[in-house]
């Protein structure tokens, strides 16, 4: 059953067309990755889906869709006396859900009481990102929108964050739309990929959609990749 239907979506920012005529669907438990180079409109597309930016075309969320959002980067002011305890409580109160939701969520993303009580500006990149994922899970969403969730995490930490997201999707039967620059992640975890370069360049299962031609069209010929036992990966992460 379709959770989201997007038809002919276009987004303009200050008269510049950032996303043009993009259409796709998202089903329950589907894991959609959005791939594309810098400035392709990936983050803008995600924000349009959240109604954070004005757009034209159609964005139709199913009535049963409950959305959790993990933004790309938050420049948390180091001097803010806010902790994830405060933020979880604030979200529970705003959504009018029980604060008990928050303690369950904290446990499932591996946030200890000490981390929850530490001001956000003092947390490591990985702890902060776990906090943001936990924040997104409050209110029991059935679809997660994640914008490069490992952007502020060091390389060893990236794998843990990806594994955490994957596990949570399994445990909670979550659909997801994730902007990612990591092709190996897309091949391992995504069920569908949407290639974006202002317009839709490809859409389908990663193995069918991500041909050499498509990747060259997205990133240019300089991108190195190779086929190996039907797995495609890149020797160096492709920054989007």
């Amino acid at each position: 059953m379709s959770l989201l239907t997007v038809k002919n979506l276009s987004v303009r920012i200050q008269d510049k067309l950032i996303v043009e005529d993009v259409s796709f669907d998202l089903s329950e438990r589907e894991r959609l990755s959005i791939l594309g180079p810098n400035g392709a409109g990936k983050t803008v597309l995600l924000k349009a889906l959240l109604s954070l930016l004005p757009s034209t075309g159609e964005i139709r969320w199913a009535p049963q869709a409950r959305i959790g959002y993990v933004p790309q980067k938050i420049d948390a002011e180091i001097h803010l006396p806010l902790t994830f305890n405060d933020l979880f409580q604030a979200k529970c109160s705003t959504l009018r859900v029980s604060i008990h939701d928050a303690s369950g969520v904290a446990e499932s993303v591996g946030l200890t009481k000490e981390i929850l009580a530490t001001p956000v500006g003092h947390l490591s990149g990985g702890q902060f990102q776990r906090g943001l994922i936990g924040f997104a899970l409050i209110g029991e969403p059935n679809v997660l929108l994640l914008d490069e969730p490992t952007a502020s995490v060091d390389e060893p930490g990236e794998e843990h964050i990806y594994e955490l997201i994957h596990r949570l999707q399994d445990e909670r039967n979550l659909a997801s739309i994730m902007v990612s620059h990591d092709l190996s992640f897309v091949f391992r975890y995504a069920t569908t990929v949407l290639c974006l370069n202002r317009q839709r360049v490809c859409f389908g299962s990663p193995r069918d959609a991500l041909s050499h031609d498509v990747l060259e069209k997205l990133y240019g010929e300089s991108v190195g990749f190779y086929d190996h036992d039907h797995h495609v990966s890149v020797p160096h992460p492709v920054q989007s």
Partner: protein, 265 residues
């Protein structure tokens, strides 16, 4: 003390409490100088009201309301010129206010004073404090989310732009309450110095709000006591003119300096 003076004292203490709360959020929102901007915008209204023999606070309230809406629009537009526009409005308002205000009222308009209050103005003042405290209590969670990330707050369902307008209106109401006692030049300091003290001493939100409010109330009580009992304090042949507004801000500044020496709670 007479009953109208007691009204005045109670209201100035409650105003300090409100200023501590609002100042804490203003500091976290990086609006530290907004108190000065807003209070200076009140000055032309105050001057016009005095010229036309109206209650000066009514004139100030109208000017503050218009100024608040203007600042909100500038904030929403989020252009590179916002700071410049606010800077121009702030200095222009100060200049126009000084030109308009009759000279015999100018010192009080700029630096405030301790005046007796009628029961009606006392009741209006209490109501205003009630509105400010109720706003902070009711909207604290939404304010916290929008402080952390306006985008995440919006994705959670918070109407961020409307919340900013409410905050600015309540902020201006706090300025209006303090205007009578501290004047247009000093009321901004009552909003921001106690919050800076609270921030120095604490690292959790609740402790921060409590410490800011306590520092604000303490500054007012100390300032009131000094201006009441030692209005012309002489030290080393220099006589200090300790009227209420400057005395309160001097005490707040001393507390801030002391707070620099303390460890965080």
């Amino acid at each position: 003390m007479t009953t109208p003076e007691i009204y005045s004292l109670v209201l100035v203490v409650l105003t300090a409490l409100a200023a501590g709360l609002i100042g804490s959020f203003a500091l976290m929102k990086r609006m530290s100088l907004a108190g000065d901007v807003v209070s200076h915008i009140a000055l032309p209204g105050l001057g016009l009201a005095l010229l036309f023999k109206m209650n000066p606070l009514v004139g100030a309230a109208i000017a503050l309301f218009c100024g608040t809406i203007l600042i909100w629009h500038l904030q929403k537009s989020a252009t590179m010129t916002t700071d410049v526009a606010i800077g121009v409005i702030f200095t222009a308002a100060l200049a126009i206010g000084i030109v308009l205000t009759p000279s015999e009222d100018l010192i009080e308009a700029l630096f405030g004073g301790f005046q007796s209050l009628t029961p009606l103005w006392f009741a209006i003042g209490l109501l205003a404090v009630g509105v400010i405290v109720a706003f902070v209590w009711m909207f604290r969670h939404q304010l916290i989310l929008s402080l952390f990330s306006p985008e995440l707050a919006a994705a959670t369902g918070v109407k961020v732009s409307r919340l900013n307008l409410y905050f600015l209106l309540v902020f201006s109401l706090t300025v209006l309450l303090g205007l009578r006692f501290l004047g247009a030049m000093l009321v901004g300091a009552l909003i921001i110095i106690p919050a800076a003290i609270g921030r120095q001493l604490t690292h959790t939100l609740t402790a921060f709000l409590v410490a800011s409010s306590a520092a604000s109330v303490l500054s007012v009580l100390l300032g009131f006591t000094i201006s009441r009992f030692y209005p012309h304090f002489t030290i080393a042949h220099v006589t200090l003119n300790l009227t209420l507004g400057p005395a309160i801000i001097a005490m707040a500044t001393i507390l801030f300096l002391l707070s620099l020496l303390r460890k965080k709670i």
